[in-house]
């Protein structure tokens, strides 16, 4: 693992969040750290895919920026491994805009993706959206279907059973549960949950709704908690 200047801000109270950059292109990685530090994040770099998991364990990032093409182990594999043990938000950096790669990346557990070449501001906006929820913990309890959501404690329970969700899935569920009377279009969800300002790829929403359903529904084929509103988008099921 190659971490870059980690001592400077491991306990920095002003830090907006810790970002681990996994990319084999040293120049790009360095450029990313410069930009991220300028934006107030605390970055670290890992140049190899097979070292990424150890780096995540050690650095405990708030957001993981993950390139798809990596030496040692490709980004999709890394994504699966990280997701298996952590709900850390993952943003894939992909040089391919092709449908298949994007969907594969999302299905392997990524929360979001940015297509190279990206504008720094765009990337920062995405990272901010991923770490935003750290900013304002509010005491709040929501109910959706037979689930109880403890917003501040970041926990979803069905009866006594705790359901493990990634932060993004949690945000998605909370977003729907807060306004159970409202049907959310995919575009609105992109803005609320992912922090997009402009119209973007609505496949993000589809993939994550599928993932969320597979965790919270009794029968993902016949959802009762996250309902599809045909022609519009999604809404919360009755509680």
């Amino acid at each position: 693992m190659t971490s870059n200047d980690r001592t400077s801000s491991s306990a920095d109270p002003d830090s907006r969040g810790r970002v681990l950059v996994v990319d084999d292109d040293a120049s790009l990685a360095e450029m990313l750290t410069i930009v991220l530090r300028q934006e107030g994040f605390e970055p670290a770099v890992c140049l190899r895919g097979d070292e990424a998991l150890a780096a995540v364990r050690e650095f405990k990032p708030d957001v993981l920026l993950l390139d798809v093409m990596l030496p040692g182990k490709d980004g999709i594999e890394v994504c699966k491994e990280v997701r298996a043990e952590s709900g850390v938000p993952i943003v894939m950096l992909t040089a391919k805009g092709d449908t298949v790669d994007v969907v594969v990346g999302l299905e392997s557990g990524a929360d979001d993706y940015v297509v190279k070449p990206f504008k720094p501001k765009e990337l920062v906006a995405r990272i901010r959206a991923r770490v935003r929820r750290l900013d304002a913990p509010v005491q709040e309890t929501l109910a959706i279907g037979d689930l109880a959501i403890d917003v501040a404690g970041h926990q979803v329970t069905r009866g006594d059973e705790v359901i493990g969700l990634t932060p993004l899935e949690f945000d998605l569920l909370v977003c729907l549960a807060r306004k159970p009377w409202q049907a959310f279009s995919r575009e609105v969800l992109l803005e609320e949950v992912w922090g997009y300002r402009h119209a973007a790829d609505t496949r993000l929403v589809n993939v994550h709704v599928q993932r969320l359903r597979s965790k919270v529904e009794h029968d993902p084929e016949r959802p009762e908690i996250v309902l599809t509103v045909r022609g519009v988008g999604y809404k919360a099921g009755p509680s």
Partner: protein, 544 residues
């Protein structure tokens, strides 16, 4: 062939509803299309002629043989009878003409009734033109005297030599006249009673010979017919042996032409057809190899373009971020450096766009583009594009107007791509409008919807309207471009249009402006035939 038959029938049928015409047409079709039919028919025709000629010769030989034989026996018999008659006359005691005639004729008649010939005895010096009855002749009962031809009678007016000729032997049996072919042999005797020459006519009917000949002819004809049918059958079998492999080859060739390059003929044996098959296969293999090579080459090339574009992305990202950073900090720089940072930013945008379009093109080349089809109203597209390009238009001093029919112009299309095409056309038009107006026309009919972008600027030189869609093509390489197009925009637009089954066409005259027209089918699978907007704008100057 069954699939095409109705067409041929339509072409060859002389009149509507003519059954005969249909049959003739069908026969003609078979004749034109089937080698074996032609071979069989011509072989049958030729063999009929040959067999007919041979049979005719055969029958003629048989007939000649029969006749010669008959003539020989007839003349021999006539000679014998004459000698016997002369002997009878010499040994006779009557000196009366009538009884002497009777002496000659009666035994002859008796013998003739037994041996099957008729007899006529007549005076030789009577006028041949006169009737035989008038000259006191004696004949077998029932014999028509006209059975003796005049030529023979004439012969005996001047000669006493034995003579014979063909005749048609007429007899009256039970009141009916029966005519059979026969030979009449004449000999001359002198009656001692009056010393005058009398001719003995012996008429031999040839009914038996006729029957034999008829039998032979019938047999030969039956044999002929059988032979011709047999030849036809054999020819058909042989033709089939040749034609079947040819038909197989045709089918395989058709499949090859349809792109199934792995199709091959089966090679059996070592004859000409087998060699044809193996040559054919060799040709197919060569073709397949060449095509595969070309495909591979083109694939490698496309892959290269995609890879290059792809590989450029990561460094471009870094440069982009560095550029952004410099751009954001340009207020801290001195004026030239700040300007450099701005230029860097602008060119990076352009570079990024170019790279994006290169990747887009390589996706088209790889056939990896999928449409997300929905109902798109071209009026909305036009409105949106005009709004998006308003800034660029204003800075170029161009007013973009939309002319629409006031009813929906909906077609099934990928809205994002259609908008990109139209945006491309409009920015292109603004770019070349030379501060004159740009008019966007939208219209639709039952089958298609179209959008046309008209400018009144520099226009296009003859022949350029097809070239504008070429990649990186520029009307005038020296001309400055304001909107910073990449040179790929129209190529991508054209690919997009084709992907929709639509048309993208250009019209233009030098200094008369240009019009680009996009026509899309209303339903995704429809074939375009007509566009609701003419490609040649109504306000175009007439061609001089």
């Amino acid at each position: 062939m069954p699939r095409l038959a109705p067409l041929t029938r339509r072409l060859t049928r002389p009149r509507r509803g003519s059954g005969l015409g249909t049959a003739v047409g069908r026969a003609l079709t078979v004749w034109r299309r089937s080698v074996s039919a032609r071979v069989v028919v011509s072989t049958v025709l030729l063999s009929t002629v040959v067999v007919g000629a041979v049979s005719w010769l055969l029958v003629a030989q048989v007939r000649d043989g029969l006749l010669d034989d008959r003539v020989r026996t007839a003349t021999a018999e006539a000679e014998t009878e004459t000698v016997q008659s002369v002997e009878r006359l010499a040994g006779g005691s009557d000196f009366d003409v009538a009884s002497q005639l009777e002496l000659v004729a009666a035994p002859l008649s008796q013998r003739g009734a037994v041996r099957g010939y008729e007899v006529l005895v007549a005076r030789s010096d009577a006028d041949p033109a006169s009737d035989l009855t008038s000259s006191g002749s004696i004949s077998s009962p029932g014999l028509e005297l006209t059975s003796v031809p005049r030529s023979l009678r004439e012969h005996f007016t001047s000669s006493a030599q034995l003579a014979w000729t063909w005749t048609s032997l007429r007899r009256t049996v039970d009141g009916e006249t029966v005519s059979v072919p026969g030979i009449v042999v004449g000999t001359q005797v002198q009656l001692p009673a009056d010393g005058r020459p009398y001719t003995l006519y012996l008429l031999f009917p040839m009914e038996q010979e006729q029957e034999t000949l008829a039998l032979v002819t019938r047999s030969v004809l039956v044999a002929d017919a059988l032979l011709v049918v047999l030849i036809g059958g054999v020819t058909w079998l042989v033709a089939r042996q040749v034609v079947t492999p040819i038909r197989m080859a045709r089918k395989v060739a058709e499949r090859l032409a349809a792109g199934r390059l792995q199709e091959r003929l089966r090679v059996a044996g070592q004859d000409d057809l087998a060699r044809l098959a193996s040559s054919f296969n060799q040709m197919a293999s060569n073709l397949q190899r060449q095509i595969q090579q070309l495909e591979e080459l083109s694939r490698v090339q496309r892959r290269f373009v995609a890879d290059v574009s792809h590989e450029l992305r990561t460094p471009l990202t870094t440069v982009r971020m560095a550029g952004d950073m410099l751009h954001d900090a340009r207020s801290d720089f001195d004026a030239p450096t700040a300007r450099a940072a701005e230029l860097l930013q602008v060119e990076l945008d352009r570079f990024e766009r170019l790279l994006g379009e290169l990747l887009e093109i390589s996706r088209y080349d790889a056939g990896a583009v999928a449409l997300e089809v929905e109902d798109v109203d071209l009026r909305d597209v036009a409105e949106r594009v005009v709004r998006q390009t308003a800034t660029v238009a204003a800075s170029s001093g161009v007013e973009v107007r939309v002319r629409e029919p006031g009813r929906p112009c909906v077609c099934a299309a990928d809205g994002r791509r259609i908008e990109r095409i139209v945006r491309n056309l409009v920015t292109n038009a603004i770019d070349h409008a030379e501060s004159r107006d740009v008019v966007v026309t939208v219209d639709a009919d039952d089958h298609s919807a179209a959008i046309a972008v008209r400018d009144y600027g520099v226009g296009l030189a003859p022949g350029e309207s097809a070239m504008v869609f070429n990649r990186f093509w520029r009307a005038d390489p020296a001309r400055a471009r304001t909107s910073g197009g990449t040179g790929l925009g129209l190529s991508i637009a054209l690919e997009d249009a084709h992907l929709h089954g639509g048309w993208l066409q250009a019209w233009g005259t030098p200094a008369g402006g240009a019009q680009f027209r996009l026509t899309l089918p209303r339903h995704a699978a429809d074939q375009l035939r007509h566009s609701p907007i003419p490609l040649l704008p109504a306000d175009a100057e007439p061609v001089r």
